[in-house]
């Protein structure tokens, strides 16, 4: 399978949309316009997009607290997401969930998650549904390096393996869990852990869309063909703090600037497609402009959107009358 021109344009647009979305949330949060906690995905775009491009509506993903990028990559509506982050009634979750709980099951997005390690067991469930109902679906769990140490994650590896579930575990290793370095917190290696559970693991440079896309294709095909779960260990970097407000003092001098200058996912993508004459700069510049406008519009509308009211407080707790 090859990436068509349209695929490339779509991939670039999604990555740009995520970047623009996160930069806008960063600004709005800094200006005091967004309540609560937000964890931004800027810098990690190639991972979510490179993986989700292989997925369709049969497939499910489970995300993390750093969920905006996964949501966009899986097809959540960015306007509804922005409303949600602002706590507005027209948000994807009616303003009840917020940044850490954005979800849209209709596009197979099983939720960002406030609980580190909350996603992998759920993905076993989605994979079990796909297997039992023979939908041909695949389920993908995004797991941070920190979350890779949770018992729930290890248990899910094992369950997925022994039930031969169509699951993929994507360890997005951005080097840190809050202020704690993954070189310290992760005993052994992700690949050795996967091997311990009898799963293949591919290590991939998460700044390189094409590398992620290729590795994900194999893992997802394997799952779809009934050949069981596997792991992707994706190394990448986050550009902002753990959450907005984090001073990031634990990172090395110039660490983020270096990554931005040398390995930025959007920059690498542009260089590659221009060098290989797959796309022109003009194609991508047009996308940049369109996406920027789109995000400005989302923010403006979200700010002006109506808040939920008291009548909404007690709805949605149960399915039946209570």
């Amino acid at each position: 399978m090859q990436l068509s021109r349209n695929d490339l344009l779509a991939a670039y647009r999604k990555m740009r949309l995520i970047r623009e979305f996160e930069d806008a949330v960063h600004e709005e949060f800094s200006a005091g316009n967004i309540p609560g906690f937000v964890h931004l995905y800027a810098g990690e775009e190639a991972s979510g997009v490179g993986i989700c491009m292989h997925l369709d509506d049969r497939d499910a993903i489970a995300s993390t607290h750093r969920g905006h990028g996964h949501c966009i990559a899986k097809g959540c509506d960015e306007r509804g997401m922005m409303f949600e982050i602002f706590g507005k009634k027209d948000g994807l979750c009616g303003g009840k969930g917020g940044s850490m709980h954005i979800a849209d099951l209709s596009v197979g997005m099983m939720g960002a998650n406030g609980i580190v390690g909350g996603g992998p067991p759920l993905i076993c469930g989605a994979a079990l549904t796909a297997k039992t109902l023979k939908t041909g679906g695949v389920a993908v769990a995004f797991v941070g390096d920190g979350a890779s140490n949770q018992g729930t994650t290890f248990e899910s590896y094992n369950l997925a393996k022994v039930w031969n579930l169509p699951a993929v575990f994507v360890v997005e290793d951005n080097g840190y869990a809050e202020s704690t370095a993954s070189v310290w917190s992760v005993g052994g290696s992700q690949a050795a852990r996967a091997a311990g559970f009898g799963m293949p693991c591919t290590e991939v440079d998460g700044h390189d869309f094409f590398a992620v896309w290729e590795a994900a294709r194999e893992a997802i095909e394997r799952a779809r063909n009934g050949e069981g779960p596997s792991m992707l260990h994706v190394r990448l970097n986050r550009y902002y703090g753990h959450f907005e407000g984090d001073a990031i003092s634990y990172k090395g001098e110039g660490e983020i600037e270096r990554v931005k200058a040398e390995k930025d996912a959007l920059m690498l993508f542009r260089n590659r497609v221009i060098e290989t004459s797959l796309l022109d700069a003009g194609d991508m510049d047009a996308i940049d402009r369109e996406v920027k406008e789109r995000i400005v519009q989302c923010v403006t509308e979200a700010k002006a959107g109506a808040s939920p009211t008291e009548a909404d407080l007690l709805t949605d707790v149960y399915t039946s009358a209570y």
Binding site: A177, E178, S185, V317
Partner: protein, 337 residues
């Protein structure tokens, strides 16, 4: 007396106990921070900076950053407590108890009883609770009623900096497992806190206001709201007693019963969901023990029976506030108030 924040009071209690007893260690996720990282060490001191500065003074041997693995490290703290250390483990948000609850309620809580009295488990778990922070459904719950339900656990809810230091110090010196609930909206609250170490005994309520008409029993952050309501009501000619039980387990039943007997009216304020919470517990206690002394039906002011919503518009209605406490007191007073 020097003024200190709730945050400083907790930090000071930990330091003083670590200095006093070398068996006291602390552990938690980013409890110091920067572990293995190239930049600043002690970068966090927990997410709210509560434990910042302790590691440089006591070393990483006694201030243990953990991977994100609550089941293992909370259980580790329980095991270490049963074998000779006095660990103070931080469960960052009480909502994360779901990941490690077995180690708390099946293991630590039951050692003493199951082992015929032979075990001693001086485990302290500090944890953050409460709504009002726009932190949404998985970072805002109260959950102390769940811990209160379990025999073998003790549960403390400091409502101000003085209590934060005294109750935490007692928790660390206590030979039973204790969960100390810190309200995330109170870390910057200031109050008088002695420099020297002191303990506040468990199961002894503090009566913050004395009045004739209504007894308000409130927990944790709600004590402050109850005090404010009582002050407002005083101006309107309704005088309230406010009781801060300080611990839900053990519970100072005597003070609750005596003060309610004096006023004949009871309002309980509890930030937890309404079913099987402290409010229903206290109302049950009072109804059973002194039904005849009640002049009006007891009132419960609680959060509603729904998860904590994210939207500020909803969360502000969700959290029990001063106005609702005043309304409940007036309801207890009956017509004309």
């Amino acid at each position: 007396m020097p003024k200190k924040s709730y945050r400083q009071a907790i930090n000071e209690a930990i330091r003083q106990e670590m200095a006093r007893d070398e068996r006291v260690i602390i552990m938690g996720e980013d409890i110091s921070g920067g572990m293995g990282a190239p930049g600043e060490q002690d970068a966090w001191g927990g997410p709210m900076g509560v434990t910042k500065g302790i590691m440089p003074d006591f070393s990483r041997d006694r201030v243990l950053d953990t991977p994100i693995t609550e089941s293992a490290f909370i259980g580790c703290a329980a095991g270490a407590a049963a074998t000779g250390l006095r660990p103070v483990a931080e469960l960052m948000f009480v909502d994360f108890m779901g990941v490690c609850f077995d180690q708390i309620f099946n293991q630590a809580a039951k050692f003493k009883y199951m082992f015929g009295g032979k075990a001693v488990t001086p485990l302290t778990i500090r944890t953050m609770y409460g709504a009002g922070f726009r932190a949404a459904s998985q970072h805002s719950q109260c959950l102390y009623p769940l811990f209160t339900h379990i025999p073998g656990l003790k549960v403390a809810l400091p409502s101000n900096p003085y209590e934060a230091k005294g109750l935490l110090t007692q928790a660390i010196r206590d030979d039973d497992p204790v969960i100390v609930f810190e309200h995330k909206a109170m870390y910057d609250d200031e109050g008088e806190v002695p420099d020297e170490a002191y303990t506040i005994p468990f199961g002894e309520a503090n009566v913050t206001r004395e009045g004739d008409d209504v007894t308000i029993v409130a927990f944790g952050r709600m004590v402050n709201f109850a005090n404010e309501a009582a002050d407002n009501l005083e101006k309107a000619g309704i005088s309230c007693t406010v009781v801060d039980p300080r611990t839900t387990s053990p519970l100072d039943r005597d003070t609750i019963l005596e003060t309610t007997e004096e006023t004949g009216r009871l309002v309980v304020v509890d930030e937890a969901h309404p079913r099987c919470n402290m409010a229903s517990d206290i109302v049950g206690l009072v109804s059973q023990e002194m039904f005849g002394a009640l002049k009006a039906a007891p009132q419960m002011v609680t959060a509603p029976h729904c998860p904590v919503p994210f939207s500020p518009a909803l969360e502000d209605i969700y959290v029990p506030g001063v106005a609702r406490i005043e309304a409940a007191v007036r309801q207890a007073m009956g017509k004309g108030h």
